[in-house]
């Protein structure tokens, strides 16, 4: 999440950036020229420390403040002075003196200039550099001005790395997985699976004694919520109690894993990780009607126990994987919805680099447990991730094409992929393309209108027409006009566009060159509007996917300080250096996403399997073996059981990446089946239960609460969710002033509720639903008065309790059995005698009170029972899992 700094660019920096943006990238070339031209100076090579000093403290300042006027790439070279090579510095400019004298800051012109003393020149002209920077330069000159730019080729100069990777690799999470055998324990009878060896060995080492096992009722309730997110039915509980066979629990686990509810529950966990939402997150929060296909793909993948490595490959590069059938290829396209659901920003589609950042941020945390996006603006401060590595990944995604949901200024969806073929697909693509181009043309004309008004004023003021000053460039721009549908954005082979292409800036900058008069522009604008309306009236509908496919394959250049207008070196597309540093070959056809997917899903990658087993463990136990599931870097928590983590990772890989087998392995262990009670002796040693001497009690998640309430009330519709009832695309007029906001209620499971990026569903807002904008794990478990108010007064809850009353009332004709049934449904246990007595007294009393407030006589029983059941549904026994 280290994405700060984005917000604060002082005016000065912006101005500097503008002047610099053009030339910095030419640095590489310049170095090459310089180094070939210069005979190597005698003397020692700069040491690693010296190079580091230069790279961290000198080079960025030169690039940001000086190269704009003093480099080979400067638009206009000032004073004949080149500061982008050591040679240039030693040679100096028109003054005839060297800009610096190594070892002698007092007589170095460069130092004098940046000190801003009375003598001229004072540099940089935009204002004095901070004192610390000036001190750095003085020190650097004193050191002899060590400068790797003099003695190395361009390629070599970029080999400088801010980290010692050999050293960095010693960190535990970058070490290969060690598949050590389970340790010996004293109490061998306690061990059910090898997992227990690891757990018990630690407990024994710490002098901790585990609690006994949970009773069968607790266990089946725990396992059922855990695997399906639903409460066990009274019949399931009874069947388990009556099954005296030694593998009774195993049968329960297998039954649950085979149920379709399993994929809904664990699919939802994954949706937390990938910050799934049904809207884009841009200023107007455009809906994405086809996003649900990715959601359902995730559910299906878990239900089918799709190997996790395959799951990774499909989500990152499904479009590039071979398929046997068309249906299979469509499913893999849908899988890339993982990349497409990256967050969108702004109103004008200008901030696509932030969307790519969001992709990289999530990819790093979800699969690798690394905060890669910290390296967007600077080398990662804590983990060995240089900016170069960030932009190596950036290049891969910038070479891809993301489906575009539409935005305030460019409101039509673009680049969606048809789940159809032949003519049907072609018709859709031409429809989509035409609307996209019309959006561009419309914005171009909107911009042009302003400039045309200027032209008219100038024409009125001057005797000569404005056109006389038109440059050839302007004329060329004008020649583009014509019928709108073959204009502009239409990407051609000769003019490919990267994903982060700023179509808005493009439209506006071209419009600025216009020589037309307002009338002409207005006329065309009317035409464009009419054509859009015509297309709206005749929509071409097709099944489509919010997907990602390959685009213009090319390497990215570093955005200095995260500023996309301040470009640095080009870096080849590739993977993180610390994880192998594989590169996309220069002649590779395509973005390289398929290669990236392979590097991540590689069993030799030390992080992928570890991160995934840790997530599975965390969802079972409420805490991971690594407590920071999204940060396996140096700032994350160290594993409490490193050997177990590795052993599990090795088993995951060995099983062919089967997630269901991992569940079985974990759940059949003794440690999963422990009671959740308290023990002051153990708590005194391990108050946080890091070593798992007991099971962690937990509150039900938001989805579990809602689903369980509906399940026991008998109102839950178990149908899988499909598309949300969004308004049709051709009616969308969303803006930041009137953004898309909607609530679509349903009796289906909670994961099928429409989830917006900009506005949480009120229920999820109250009960800690997932964050739809960034990776969630683990969920918060807050306890707030607003939750209590919901359970006391919410209309939906009152309705559910009423339905619950009907269900219980219809099932039995006497109160004793009704109350008992309610307990079995809600708590998974029969009611005790005292509880039944209490209930009877309560119902009587409430009926009296209901009569007093003139409730219709035929509603008395139902209303009193509903009142009682509200209490059941808001009680801790219902809301917590032992």
């Amino acid at each position: 999440m280290l994405k700060h700094g984005e917000s604060t660019k002082p005016a000065k920096a912006i101005i500097k950036t503008l002047t610099l943006s053009v030339m910095v990238g030419g640095l590489l070339l310049m170095q090459d020229v310089a180094s070939r031209a210069t005979s190597q100076e005698a003397g020692k090579e700069p040491s690693r420390e010296e190079i580091e000093f230069f790279e961290k403290k000198i080079r960025p300042v030169l690039a940001d403040n000086c190269y704009g006027c003093h480099s080979a790439q400067a638009k206009k070279l000032m004073g004949q002075l080149l500061l982008d090579s050591r040679e240039g510095m030693l040679k100096g400019g028109t003054s005839g003196q060297p800009a610096l004298i190594p070892g002698d800051p007092e007589n170095s012109l460069l130092i004098k200039a940046i000190r801003y003393t009375d003598s001229k020149p004072q540099m940089p002209p935009a204002g004095k550099l901070p004192d610390q920077v000036i001190k750095d330069f003085e020190q650097w000159v004193k050191m002899g001005a060590p400068d790797p730019r003099k003695s190395q080729t361009a390629a070599a100069s970029t080999d400088w790395q801010p980290y010692d990777f050999n050293e960095a690799k010693k960190f535990w999470s970058f070490q290969p997985i060690k598949d050590s055998s389970p340790p010996q324990v004293k109490d061998t009878a306690w061990v059910k699976t090898p997992i227990d060896n690891f757990i018990l060995a630690k407990l024994e080492e710490k002098g901790l004694k585990p609690l006994g096992e949970a009773d069968k009722r607790t266990l089946i309730r725990r396992a059922t919520f855990d695997l399906t997110g639903l409460p066990p039915t009274p019949e399931e509980v009874e069947a388990f109690l009556n099954d005296k066979s030694p593998n009774a629990f195993e049968k329960v686990v297998d039954r649950l894993l085979a149920s379709s509810a399993y994929g809904e529950k664990w699919g939802r966990h994954w949706l937390d990780v990938v910050r799934y939402a049904d809207t884009a997150g841009c200023n107007s929060d455009f809906p994405i009607p086809s996003a649900y296909k990715y959601r359902n793909y995730v559910i299906k993948s878990f239900n089918e126990d799709k190997p996790y490595d395959q799951f990774i490959r499909e989500q990152i590069a499904g479009d590039l994987l071979p398929s046997k059938t068309e249906a299979e290829s469509f499913e893999k396209l849908i899988a890339t919805g993982y990349i497409a659901i990256s967050r969108r920003f702004g109103s004008r589609n200008k901030e696509f680099h932030l969307t790519i950042d969001d992709t990289i941020d999530n990819l790093g945390k979800a699969f690798l447990g690394l905060s890669i996006s910290c390296a967007r603006c600077h080398d990662h401060k804590f983990d060995p991730i240089p900016m170069r590595d960030y932009y190596a990944l950036y290049g891969i995604f910038n070479s891809s094409r993301y489906a575009f949901p539409g935005q305030e200024i460019y409101p039509h969806p673009a680049d969606f992929v048809a789940l159809a073929s032949g003519r049907e697909a072609e018709r859709f693509y031409s429809y989509q393309k035409e609307l996209t181009e019309l959006d561009d043309r419309k914005e171009f004309l909107t911009a042009e209108k302003g400039y045309a008004a200027r032209n008219k004023k100038l024409k009125q003021q001057q005797a000569k027409p404005a056109q006389s000053t038109a440059s050839s460039e302007t004329k060329a721009a004008n020649e583009q006009k014509g019928s709108p549908n073959h204009l502009l954005r239409g990407e051609t082979a000769s003019d490919p566009k990267p994903a982060d292409f700023d179509r808005d800036a493009d439209n506006w900058s071209r419009a600025a060159k216009t020589t037309r008069m307002p009338e002409e522009v207005e006329a065309e604008l009317r035409e464009v509007r009419a054509r859009i309306a015509q297309l709206h009236d005749n929509p071409v509908k097709v099944e489509k996917a919010y997907a990602v496919v390959d685009g213009y394959a090319h390497n990215a250049r570093i955005h200095r300080r995260g500023d996309r207008n301040n470009l640095g070196d080009e870096v080849p597309r590739g993977f993180l250096t610390i994880l192998g540093g594989q590169k996309v070959p220069a002649d590779y056809k395509g973005s390289g996403r398929d290669l990236l997917a392979g590097w991540i899903a590689d069993p030799k990658n030390p992080l992928t399997a570890r991160v995934m087993v840790n997530r599975i463990w965390q969802y079972h136990f409420g805490q991971g073996l690594v407590k920071t599931p999204n940060d396996f870097g140096t700032r994350g928590a160290a594993p409490t059981h490193p050997e177990l983590l590795d052993w599990l990772a090795a088993r995951l890989i060995e099983s062919g990446w089967s997630v269901k087998k991992m569940h079985r392995l974990i759940m059949l262990s003794r440690v999963y089946q422990l009671a959740s009670a308290h023990d002051p002796k153990q708590a005194a040693i391990d108050v946080n239960n890091d070593y798992l001497w007991r099971f962690n009690r937990r509150r039900l998640s938001a989805e579990e609460i809602r689903d369980a309430i509906m399940a026991v009330s008998g109102t839950l519709d178990r149908t899988m969710g499909g598309e949300h009832p969004f308004p049709p695309e051709n009616t969308w007029r969303y803006t930041q002033h009137e953004p898309f906001f909607a609530l679509y209620e349903t009796n289906r499971r909670s994961l099928y509720l429409m989830q917006q990026r900009l506005k949480k569903h009120p229920f999820f807002e109250i009960f800690d639903g997932a964050d739809q904008s960034s990776i969630t794990a683990p969920r918060n478990q807050s306890t707030t008065p607003l939750q209590a108010l919901f359970l006391m007064n919410n209309a939906w809850l009152h309705e559910q309790a009423d339905q619950f009353a009907v269900r219980v009332g219809m099932a039995y004709d006497n109160w004793r059995e009704r109350i008992d049934y309610a307990f079995r449904l809600a708590y998974g246990r029969p009611a005790k005698d005292e509880e039944i007595k209490e209930a009877m007294a309560y119902l009587r009393k409430v009926r009296e009170e209901l009569q007093a407030v003139k409730t219709a006589p035929d509603r008395l029983r139902r209303a009193s029972l509903a009142s009682y059941l509200r209490v059941l549904l808001s009680s801790n026994e219902f809301l917590y899992l032992d």
């Binding site: 604060t8 308290h678 006391m792 007093a852 009142s867």
Partner: protein, 462 residues
């Protein structure tokens, strides 16, 4: 804090509630034991009042935010040259048409602070107010700039300033949320404006809307008060029984307690919103008719009542994401919007002052950006984040001064830039915080409201 208008003593309320209930005399004993407001709240209550880093001047904040971007050159930033050149038809840098303000500026109060007739009532309070004319934001789009003034970030989701203050100070009245937002409509970026984001959810702003149900699920739905009492009483019994075999689980205990708080809120919130006991003179001060339950006057008076009852951060938003201060086509549209907020805001300042509360209440009056000194179309102005105005008053702030200067036209900052981060740092300072130390560990990093920036504007501190 003042509790003169406090509702019936809670102890008494609880006693009458539960002694009349069906089951459980033990319940109210338990609740009574917990009844000591802040005193007995355990450390694990994230809303327990906390001490800031140093002794603060202000105990709470009333944060007035006007969506759309009100014009600085029409309100608080007097530019004689802009008026002069605009009237002569001179262009800005030979290219852009200058537009003169529609409202006349006059020196106000003893201090002589220049404020225009757009805000004649606020102008009467000039000696309380510190006008900042050199505020600077990072983005010229409403959505991003709105998040900027609230969270410090124009790009990423971050906790709101109100959530940070709640996180840092807790709250004095456990029956009311610590961070309340009075907003008749949703502003740009919707509920993100008061989202706690990665801070614990209890610090999220609670939106209160005038009307039948000011807070979702606030109104009793059980058929009668007695039945609700019975339900709560039985629930307590269930939960205590459940807890018996699960002692030492502070979360279970905390949840039991939330019902007490929720019940308290159900009782106290309507009372806070009930203005019937306010005097005619007070209503008049805010420009309110008796019985009126809408408008900014209502919001301001409710804000004062909340401030009295210990709410920590009260945000007032006058209008929503459309039909607001975004005067692209005609600056005249500022007039009715100003009329809506002017008298009420001034009334709030005067009322707080007369009750001796202004010294400990920081009042903030701000927007997401200013407007261009040049014209958009013939009569409107565009977005302008490079220099704009806001003001602060009350706890910790020197009144009757103007800080920061723009150039002759109000286009660029000429002196003493106050970046939004500096603005936030200063607000936190008034509340007793070193903004660099009010941090929250999230995703491996310590986050703060001011990111890695911000410095306190010392010159405006009392």
């Amino acid at each position: 804090m003042t509790l003169s208008n406090s509702p019936i003593p809670r102890r008494q309320l609880l006693r009458s509630l539960f002694s009349g209930s069906i089951m459980m005399p033990a319940v109210f004993a338990h609740l009574l034991a917990a009844d000591g407001r802040a005193m007995e709240l355990g450390e694990d209550n994230p809303l327990a009042p906390k001490r800031p880093h140093f002794t603060p001047k202000a105990k709470r904040v009333i944060f007035i935010y006007l969506p759309g971007g009100f014009s600085h050159v029409d309100s608080f930033d007097y530019k004689s040259k802009l008026i002069e050149d605009a009237n002569k038809g001179r262009l800005y840098q030979g290219r852009r048409v200058l537009l003169a303000p529609l409202w006349e500026f006059k020196p106000r109060g003893k201090s002589g602070t220049m404020i225009s007739d757009l805000f004649p009532h606020i102008a009467e309070c000039a000696d309380e107010v510190c006008v900042i004319n050199s505020l600077r934001g990072d983005h010229n789009d409403h959505y991003q700039a709105t998040l900027g003034i609230h969270t410090g970030s124009v790009t990423f989701k971050r906790p709101s300033i109100g959530s940070w203050v709640s996180y840092g100070l807790g709250t004095e009245n456990q029956n009311l949320p610590s961070f309340v937002v009075l907003a008749p409509q949703l502003p740009y970026a919707g509920t993100q404006v008061w989202d706690a984001d990665f801070l614990p959810a209890v610090h999220q702003g609670t939106r209160v809307v005038a009307g039948e149900e000011p807070v979702p699920n606030l109104n009793r739905r059980s058929p009668s008060a007695k039945i609700q009492e019975a339900e709560l009483s039985l629930l307590e019994r269930f939960n205590l029984r459940h807890q018996r075999s699960r002692a030492h689980d502070s979360e279970l205990a905390a949840r039991i307690k939330t019902y007490e708080t929720a019940f308290g809120m159900q009782q106290e919130m309507p009372e806070v919103l009930d203005l019937s006991k306010e005097t005619e003179a007070t209503l008049k001060l805010y420009g309110l008719e008796r019985g009126q339950r809408t408008g900014f006057g209502w919001q301001c008076l409710v804000a004062r009542r909340m401030a009295e009852r210990g709410v920590r951060f009260i945000e007032l938003i006058d209008v929503g994401a459309s039909k607001n201060w975004d005067a692209h086509s005609d600056m005249k549209s500022h007039q009715p919007l100003a009329r809506n907020v002017d008298k009420a805001t001034a009334g709030l300042l005067k009322d707080l002052k007369s009750r001796g509360m202004l010294d400990e209440t920081l009042v903030v009056f701000t927007t997401e950006f200013g407007r261009t000194p040049t014209a958009e179309g013939d009569y409107g102005r565009g977005h302008h984040c490079y220099a704009y105005s806001s003001w602060l008053a009350g706890g910790g702030i020197k009144g009757g001064i103007v800080y920061g200067k723009t150039d002759d036209y109000g286009m660029k900052i000429a002196e003493d830039e106050v970046h939004v981060h500096d603005f936030h740092a200063t607000i936190l300072h008034c509340l007793g915080f070193d903004h660099t130390k009010l941090t929250f560990r999230h995703g491996g990093r310590d986050f703060r409201l001011t990111d890695v920036h911000g410095s306190v504007v010392k010159a405006i501190l009392a």
